[in-house]
Amino acid sequence: MTLRTFPATLAFLVIAALPSVHAQSITRGPYLQMLSPNAITVRWQTDVATDSRVQYGGAPDTLASNAGDGASVIEHDIRLTGLTPDTTYHYSVGTSATMLAGGDDTFRFKTAPLPGTIQPVRIWVLGDSGTGGDGTGRAESVRDGYYNSTFYQDPDFWMMLGDNAYTNGTEAETTRAIFQTHPMMLRKCTLWSTLGNHDTYTSRGEPYFNAFNLPENAECGGQASGTERYYSFDYANIHFICLDSEGNHADGSPQLEWAKRDLENTIQQWIIAFWHAPPYSRGSHNTDTEPGLVQQRLDFLPLLESHGVDLVLCGHSHCYERSMLLNGHYGLSSTFDPNTMALDTGDGSETGDGAYQKTEGSNNGTVYVVGGNSGKASGGSLDHPVMITSQNKLGSLIIDVNNSRLDVHEIGTDGVPLDNFTLLKGPLGPRLIPMGWYSVSDHAGTPRALPILDHTFIEPRQAGLRRVEISFFESVLVGNPATAVAVTGINAAGPVDLSSLGITVTASAIDDRVVVEFSNDSGPCALPDAAKWRFTLNPAALSGTSGAILPNGAANSRVITSLAGDTTGTGRCTGIDLNRIANSGPFNPLDADHLRADITGDGVIDATDRAAAWANRATRTDTLTQPD
């Protein structure tokens, strides 16, 4: 990078004038960039120019490999290549003579899985977080809200949605708001970013482009853009496309030509697009009255929606706004017609109106999130009609993708979700309703009540719904499931009475599931289309062997349980992300797809990867060890 050589040159001139040698110390980082299955870039900044060296290996004390550069610079930029996909490495940084940082477990990175890999993915997203270190504590409260929440786990990577350093994106503001606010996350998780307007206010974004390495030449997947202003990358089964709302996005512009080619090239299951200024908002910005935002909506959205982009993340407006499942709304908000421009007007929550489903013979429908609330909450009318929720609160987003399921949680400063929604996609088939993550702590076979059964679920519109399975995971159900399930429907005309349609509902227990099927005089049948169906479970009619149950909505890999006093039996835990169990020795993965594990001893499973997994044996505990 041409720009990056400048500070080094400047530093050299300054140092050359100094009478004595200055001690080297790190002023930024180390931090991780351009994550791919086989490579990663390690960056750090020093107060004086030195050469660069990264040592890396499989454990903090065995950093057998190294890479470096003999040039004397203050912006150190080393690309490690030839790495193994989906593998954790530890590292240190320094000069050819001295290690300046590293050597403990916090200095680590995990390479990306190969494109198309299906495995749980966690992403943490901050928008307009540039108030970090400004003395108001806002960005810090958002950061700590996630760190202290029950949802916490190290993300696979994290993202900033622009306006990362208020007010002018200067070098000093960048250091303060990014590097001094997030030193721990930066050293272990790759940060991706998109350009915000404030990031351009100093020398057309020079400090921003100095700080970030972004793939111009398809180094991390996707198509080569030739610029760091917009780019794409792949991670597991997700394609990410970063657009530039601050540059030229007119029809025929290089940006749109590239985006079109990039989108028609991907075969990934999910596509997430992100950029700074949102297409829909009535927060501190209004997408009806700001001409640039009106035009940008017309430029970006038809292309993205035609390619089935699933989720759009933006910032700029300092609030949290989240849309319904949309398709084809490109005009002013006064032209929004939910009947023709929304594919699902529900809230997308499994505990509310039901998840959004992209399974009806098309992959249409996009959810738009405005998350410019990670450093400021600046109000606004907060009444855009496409939005399911609009909140003037600080927070950050977590995105969990697991195969055909994508969950989004907006986490407030108190660690409590402000919003949750789910997108599902895949072929039509038996519809599985998960009862949430929970685990078995008593596998002696003693039937016990299933306390979470007082729960209702609404299926979104789904064509040809013939069979529904309600899963209780590893429980063995007893009781009378035939009376445990009530099915009610609603369509535009009002409630749907199944008995008047001659449809009978049957429910039976098969292993750990209640299977619900429908029949009429001619035999098995489907539920009528164009209605939403609610399955209400009667807790009194069912019981089974089960145990400690996590709260509804608990994210995967948040399961913590213990087996009391039985070191020889075999029990099972569900909802455990095996990739994140620190000590997997006693666990024998049974079924990686469903994240089950055999437990052959008693102890504590800690879903965070840095805690001691087998501390506190034989003691029942639900304590989560907080990461740093």
């Binding site: 853009s225 290089p254 590239w258 209004n286 009255t289």
Partner: protein, 306 residues
């Protein structure tokens, strides 16, 4: 409306800041017009910064950079009149502050008055010849005036003064050349961009469009062959290739290429096929299949389909 300007008016910014010349008065008219038309959204950050800058100006009333900065904030808020006043004050404090001319020139171009912009830009570039912005803005003026050669020369200067150019620099230059009827030169510029930046998708697709429009079938096939060799989906590229083969009179190869395109499309995961774009592609495959079924090769070649 902005009055039409037919004469070239000397720029008098430095000499009479409070008494704008005719260009200045017309600008004031434009600014008032623009302010009346442009709705202002809430930009809380900009307001905060303007308040801060106003406080700083009160403490250092002779610092031209503070006025310039506040003018930029006012411009972002479309507070044209306030922006203009701050630009003028900055210029008054530092007559050498050439950026003011560039800012005004941008406004003139925005207003569809490129002749006015040119006057300012010539002056700006004589004092600040090292940066690309002035050349880019002058290229815009010249393009609006259909002075293609001058616009192309400015685009060349933009590249010369941009150490780390992005695709926009090459695309804008090529667009000026295409508008001026110089398609071969435009292709050269795009190829130069690809040589400099790598196989950038936007430039490669633009070059492919040009080659097709100029019936440079072999060059287009070579380019698309290289794109097909890269990882990723092949279906849309194969379809494009079939179209080029068909235009080149190589019907048999085109037909084989459509078959390959369909195979590739069918192998794409459902999530990517069941989209509006996917359905459009499938329809295109159908159309080209029908077209190629009716044709046979008019050229006898040994090119195998890829």
């Amino acid at each position: 409306m902005i009055p039409m300007q037919t004469e070239r008016v000397a720029h008098r910014r430095g000499t009479a800041p409070h008494q704008p010349g005719r260009a200045g008065w017309r600008l004031v008219v434009f600014l008032l017009w623009a302010a009346a038309l442009a709705p202002v959204g809430a930009h809380e950050d900009n307001f905060v910064e303007i308040r801060q800058l106003t406080a700083n100006i009160a403490a250092s009333p002779d610092n031209p950079r503070l006025y310039l900065r506040r003018a930029e904030m006012q411009r972002l808020l479309r507070h044209w009149h306030a922006a203009e006043a701050d630009y003028r004050r900055a210029a008054e404090l530092d007559p050498k502050l050439a950026l003011v001319d560039l800012a005004f020139a941008t406004l003139w171009n925005d207003a569809g008055q490129p002749e006015q912009a040119l006057v300012l830009l010539d002056g700006y570039l004589s004092r600040s010849p090292a940066g690309p912005e002035g050349y880019a803005e002058r290229a815009r003026s010249n393009r609006m005036l259909k002075r293609w050669a001058a616009a192309a020369a400015d685009c060349a200067e933009v590249l010369k003064h941009t150490p780390d150019p992005d695709p926009e620099v090459f695309a804008a230059w090529a667009a000026v050349l295409i508008d001026g009827g110089e398609r071969a030169q435009a292709l050269e510029v795009l190829n130069r961009g690809i040589a400099r930046l790598g196989r950038v998708a936007s430039l490669a697709m633009k070059a492919l469009d040009l080659e097709e429009s100029m019936a440079l079938h072999d060059a287009a096939l070579q380019r698309i062959g290289a794109m097909l060799a890269a990882p990723g989906r092949k279906d849309s590229l194969l379809l494009r290739k079939a179209g080029i083969l068909l235009a080149a009179g190589r019907g048999d190869e085109a037909r084989a290429c459509v078959v390959l395109a369909r195979q590739q499309f069918n192998a794409v995961p459902e999530a990517r096929r069941l989209t509006a774009a996917g359905r459009q592609l499938a329809a295109k495959i159908d159309r080209l299949e029908t077209q190629t079924a009716k044709t046979t090769s008019t050229q006898n070649t040994n090119h195998p389909p890829q």
